[in-house]
């Protein structure tokens, strides 16, 4: 039975992490010998088998004898709210209840990294637990000492990309410090380093990074009359190929060819590719935008205004306002948006985004059920030392010095220069393709005539692909034209009333932050007194927790916290440090807490003012509902 389970696990792991079995076969004996750790099983009081690690005459439990689940449950509960898309780092799999509880308490969009620093534990668990059953369809990265630990840094880096650092959670299973202190420290160092790099990158920016929240509050007015991306499912026929057009430098080579695919396929372009396409007389069926600071100039063409747009509420406000056609939204994990759907008995579906506008457009094509998906202009590299196709940022893109760039295998060249972020996207595409192919019969073709190689795709020229795949006529525009907004008029009215209430909701955060500051002040005073009263300490911490929960439950908090990079830095700056006494920890907690609450109050005030400007109106006495007055103040027509 254990061998059977192990084989099943290995098969599952091989699918997720190709090559892992071969490495394990090769290194297994050496690693077990090197660790010289004996992992035994013992029956707990609950009758389940728990693990015990024996090394150098020392015997340490990896799970409690009396209740193996207890600490796991406590640990996950003190992590606080695990928001959608949060990266969660777990060190150790010696007690699987931690993972079970984590998966139970987080939604599918949460990305989990499990780092097992003890190969012996990993090897033992292969025979004991069903990995597929626990992970399901979750995005889980697995790093095992001796097998792929050299990838730890890059996986952590990838998971903390974008604005993910403030969302991260981590925990280390107890006793791992005792068993492998060096690896624990390395793990913490990597997280500190990656978090620091994120803040350094932001260092030269403003104190706050407000564009995200500002874009959100500015753009939310488009939602009531908007559409869900998933409404496109079965509205657009999926028996034609889908072209995902990015703006890589190779687009120059075959852009003209793409004209032949129009009305014989679904063409979705990234925002940066819109201008070059329109200049060639090719109107994509849809375009996607994601970046909150994307300049309007990239899409500023009259013909672009009405092209259906796949977008986020946090996309660049200028693009959102310029565009007057149908806007398609998907779930980005914002509680505020979810509430707008919930109040009308509706849900907004999401799908993996991948961090770039090209990955977003590609992911939508997969979810719409297309069976042939073709990349065009998806270089993911500096082909001919250029970053983008002509007609994007400049009429003719200039050559750049790529001598110091990393090099990756190319589609047509042995190797091509690229940047870390582009390379991360390439890896994302490869993993996604592999995952998608597991449950769907889809052919992925790369018709980018240059750039970096994407594993899992067939390489063809665009002319060949069009000849082969584009046989059937299709009128995508008329399919989309016939669609109705997701909310009817009555539902829209309800939403407007909720939007109008936003400044009041944000003001509640201001009040809670003030209250939180007071609590931390009390905590500080208590810890500085000699012979600390533990009951009072726990009491304050409980109140802090409740205050924090109230703040976190406010649908506006998520936006504020994601923008408050500096404030999160304060919280995170001390979290890895290990302090000697409980009093010292309390004082540090109070320091961080007070600072955080001060910044939260300040930022919430700024946002309150901003939302008042956006949502408030002067003429409160005029007739009509709040929503109607608000719409009128925002220049929206009924």
């Amino acid at each position: 039975m254990p061998e059977k389970l192990m084989n099943r696990n290995l098969k599952a792991l091989e699918k997720r992490f190709p090559g892992i079995c071969e490495i394990m076969d090769e290194k297994k004996e050496e690693l077990l010998q090197k660790e010289s750790m004996h992992i035994t099983e013992e029956t707990a009081f609950t009758e389940e088998q728990i693990l015990v690690a024996e090394k150098d005459g020392r015997r340490l439990y990896l799970a409690g004898r009396r209740n193996p689940k207890a600490h796991a449950e406590n640990q996950i509960s003190v992590l606080g709210k695990i928001v959608p898309n949060a990266p969660v780092f777990v060190m150790g799999m010696g007690n699987i209840h931690y993972l079970e509880k984590l998966i139970e308490e987080s939604d599918d969009s949460v990305i989990i990294l499990i780092y097992e620093p003890l190969f012996s534990v990993f090897y033992k668990q292969l025979k004991r637990i069903d990995f597929e059953e626990i992970f399901g369809k979750r995005t889980v990265s697995l790093v095992v000492e001796g097998i792929n630990e050299e990838g730890l840094e890059s996986v952590v880096g990838t998971m903390l990309q974008g604005d993910k650092v403030p969302l991260m959670k981590y925990f280390i299973l107890p006793n791992y410090v005792e068993l492998c202190r060096e690896q624990v420290n390395r793990f913490l160092d990597i997280m500190i380093e990656k978090s620091k790099r994120y803040y350094v990158d932001l260092g030269t920016k403003m104190f706050f990074s407000p564009y995200q929240a500002e874009n959100f509050y500015h753009n939310i007015k488009h939602l009531p009359t908007g559409y869900k991306a998933f409404q496109l499912f079965r509205t657009i026929p999926a028996d034609v190929p889908a072209f995902v057009v990015a703006a890589g430098p190779s687009l120059n080579k075959n852009i003209k060819e793409l004209k032949r695919a129009k009305n014989k396929s679904f063409i979705i372009a990234v925002d940066t590719a819109v201008k070059p396409l329109l200049q060639e007389g090719i109107k994509p069926d849809m375009f996607a935008t994601l970046d909150g600071i994307k300049p309007l100039e990239l899409v500023e063409m009259e013909q672009a205004k009405k092209i259906p747009l796949l977008t986020l509420v946090t996309a660049a406000d200028a693009i959102m306002d310029y565009h007057t056609g149908k806007k398609f939204f998907f779930d980005e994990g914002y509680e505020y948006v979810r509430k707008l759907f919930e109040m009308n008995g509706k849900t907004l579906e999401g799908f993996p985004v991948g961090g770039s506008v090209a990955t977003l457009a590609f992911s939508l094509a997969c979810y719409l059920g297309f069976r042939t998906i073709i990349f065009v202009g998806q270089d993911l590299a500096y082909t001919n030392n250029r970053s983008h196709a002509d007609g994007t940022f400049h009429a003719q893109m200039l050559e750049e010095d790529t001598e110091d760039f990393m090099k990756v295998p190319g589609n047509y060249e042995e190797e091509v220069p690229t940047l870390t972020n582009l390379n991360d996207y390439r890896k994302w595409f490869e993993e996604y393709i592999e995952w998608w192919k597991e449950g769907h019969e889809v052919t992925f073709i790369n018709a980018t005539e240059g750039g970096a190689k994407i594993e899992g795709t067939e390489l063809m020229t665009l002319a060949e692909v069009i000849d082969q795949e584009c046989g059937k006529e299709v009128d995508i525009s008329s399919c989309i034209d016939g669609m109705e907004p997701v909310f009817n008029e009555k539902e829209q009215e309800k939403i407007w009333d909720y939007l109008y209430d936003t400044p009041k909701q944000v003001h509640e955060i201001v009040s809670l932050a003030r209250e939180g500051k007071k609590l931390y002040h009390q905590l500080d005073k208590l810890c500085k007194k000699g012979n600390m009263d533990k009951r009072a300490y726990l009491k304050i911490l409980k109140r802090v927790k409740r205050n924090r929960k109230k703040i976190e439950d406010n649908p506006n908090y998520q936006l504020l916290s994601e923008s408050m990079t500096k404030a999160e830095q304060i919280i995170r700056s001390g979290q890895y440090l290990r302090r000697e006494t409980i009093e010292e920890e309390g004082i540090e907690l109070a320091r961080q807490g007070k600072k955080y609450m001060e910044l939260l109050e300040e930022y919430a005030r700024i946002m309150e003012e901003y939302t008042r400007k956006i949502f408030d109106f002067q003429d409160k006495g005029s007739a009509g509902s709040d929503g109607a007055r608000l719409r009128s103040s925002l220049g929206q027509t009924e």
């Binding site: 015997r59 799970a63 409690g64 600490h71 409980k542 920890e585």
Partner: protein, 117 residues
């Protein structure tokens, strides 16, 4: 004795909370401060045989103490936490009045009300 039991119970809760919330790895070290109180409680519990508990209860307590001893020797945070939170704490709860838990609950509820008002 009731006050001592209450103090010990709260100290065990506090240690567990501290280890989890602050990710403090010194659970065994911190628990050393409680050993004297645990010893006192155990001695009292054993001497007061007239409680009428079955032998299993005493054997189980003995097992918990052995675990504490092993955990100290091996510096095993998991075993110590399990012995105190899932073991000793259960024995302490037997001697804490319903009123204590009711009060605790009330005080928690009061705090919630205060927060919400």
């Amino acid at each position: 004795m009731e006050e001592k039991i209450q103090n010990l119970y709260e100290s065990i809760n506090f240690l567990g909370f501290n280890a989890t919330y602050h990710r403090n790895n010194n659970y065994v070290e911190n628990s050393k401060k409680l050993l004297e109180q645990i010893q006192e409680f155990v001695q009292w519990f054993i001497e007061e045989k007239h409680f009428g508990f079955e032998q299993d209860i005493y054997d189980n307590l003995n097992d918990i103490l052995k675990d504490c001893e092993t955990a100290l020797k091996e510096h095993d945070n998991v075993l110590m936490m399990d012995a105190l939170e899932q073991g000793i704490a259960g024995y302490l709860e037997m001697f804490l009045s319903e009123e204590y838990f009711r009060e605790k609950e009330k005080s928690d509820a009061r705090e919630v009300d205060e927060q919400e008002s």
